[in-house]
Amino acid sequence: MFAITVRDDGEIVLSGRFDASQIETADAIFERVSDTTRVNFQDLDYISSAGLGILLKTQKRLSASGHFLILMNMKKMVRDVFRIARFDMVFRIEEDQ
């Protein structure tokens, strides 16, 4: 089960399992992002390359206008996936916010 919600302050909250079958659902939210935005991973249990692809695409688009995503509160295994993909060099990742 995957869920993506946008809070009143613009923060995007991810939860559950972000796999390849959820690309369209997630993309519909991320393609509307046009400013620096916080993405809360606190309740996200799983991400694969499909989810990384959506985040990378969004980050590339935002960087053209000087904006970026701030990724927060990743669980250990999700953090490991970012590290192995070397996405920790591409994204601003914050812990325990």
Partner: protein, 143 residues
């Protein structure tokens, strides 16, 4: 234990349920289950995307012994397609030059302990092995 799944991205829910029944219930450690889910998702979605002429279903098998978890994905009816030898992505490139694709097989290569491909009788089989962490090794590491 072997089961067949429709060649469709929407099969992923069913595949995760199958893996969870086989693996999560037999491993207290979260890491191998995560790694095997990810490996199966990446390999299965590649089969769906790039081997469209194959049979309508793809077989997934799980074998567990005291040493390792072994998962096989069997894709029949298509030409040989060894994605385990796909070109490595350059993960050191700056943001603007990072490709969107190719990351999946990179993650699989880095996270599993063995990855093999074989082709026989018009069936391609990818075997993924993740070693079990033995309790005394974990205790030692935790120090």
């Amino acid at each position: 234990m072997q089961q067949s799944f429709r060649r469709d991205i929407r099969s992923l829910d069913e595949i995760f349920e199958f893996l969870d029944r086989q693996i999560t219930s037999r491993s207290a450690d979260e890491a191998p289950a995560y790694v095997l889910r990810l490996a199966v998702e990446e390999l299965f979605t590649n089969m769906v995307k790039y081997n469209r002429g194959g049979d309508p279903e793809i077989g997934i098998g799980v074998e567990i012994n005291g040493r390792a978890f072994t998962v096989t994905l069997t894709d029949c009816g298509g030409e040989p397609f060894d994605m385990t030898r796909a070109k490595e992505v350059d993960t050191l490139r700056p943001l603007e030059e990072r490709p969107i694709g190719g990351l999946g097989i990179h993650l699989v290569r880095q996270m599993v302990d063995e990855l093999r491909y074989s082709y026989s009788g018009r069936c391609g089989t990818i075997t993924v092995v993740k070693y079990r962490e033995l309790p005394h090794v974990r205790d030692h590491r935790q120090g």
